[in-house]
């Protein structure tokens, strides 16, 4: 089983916060910027790729027990989002790439691990 820390180097991700959660197990990924779609469909252990940076993103990640969040296109988490990420130990990661590209890379990485 892959862990969050295992994707950081390969995907060239920045770790913004929640370092204590880098050991979390990662089962897959989910891509959407509509919060209720994520609430309804994301599964425990997935990494959520989004451009939303406000605190509700962390609230959802925590309620759904997601492994980590990847913010695309150099988006940075807001202050209270960072704070909750630290408290919950759910990492917020960042990339300069767009959603399509990073999702494709993560998909391949996970596929090759199986």
């Amino acid at each position: 089983m892959m862990k969050v820390k295992d994707i950081i180097d390969d995907l060239g991700l920045t770790v913004f916060s929640g370092k204590s959660g880098l050991e979390r197990e990662l089962t897959g990924g989910y891509v959407c910027d509509l919060l209720s779609d994520v609430m309804g469909n994301a599964q425990t252990g997935q990494t959520w790729i989004t451009l939303q940076t406000h605190r509700n993103v962390m609230a959802i990640a925590s309620l759904k027990d997601l492994a980590a969040i990847i913010l695309v296109k150099d988006n940075k988490p807001e202050e209270d989002t960072l704070k909750q990420s630290e408290e919950e130990g759910i990492p917020i990661l960042g990339t300069a790439e767009d959603t399509f590209t990073i999702a494709g890379k993560l998909f391949n990485l996970l596929k090759n691990q199986q």
Partner: protein, 139 residues
Amino acid sequence: MHFEHEIEGGNFSQAGFASSEIKKVLKQLNINIKVIKRVVVALYEAEVNIVAHAYHGKMEVDVDTDKIFMRLTDKGPGIENIEKAMEEGYSTASTEVREMGFGAGMGLSNIKKNTDELYITSKVDKGTTVEMTAYLNRE
């Protein structure tokens, strides 16, 4: 066991807090994880609906030996046509709220999918009550 949380309309930075508190309690009570997952989705959507659409509200949760009963009541604009509101994709969310990623019109259908019973009553210009039940023996 009875639990209650106040919910403030418009305060998005607190949205999800009440649901998260209930999730912690249910975990402590050793409720089946599959039931917790469903209940959390339903509670969060109902909580955010108060934050996004109403002025002030309350979340009440009763944990029984065979079921979890949840009631969210609010003072707010109410829902004129509940049937329509239930349709996936229907939303009256403001542009601001949509920019945050809310307003897909999926909240109520998420609630429907994740509860065993759902009962909504509403009075325009007064408020809305959402009552939901999840049975503990039904995963």
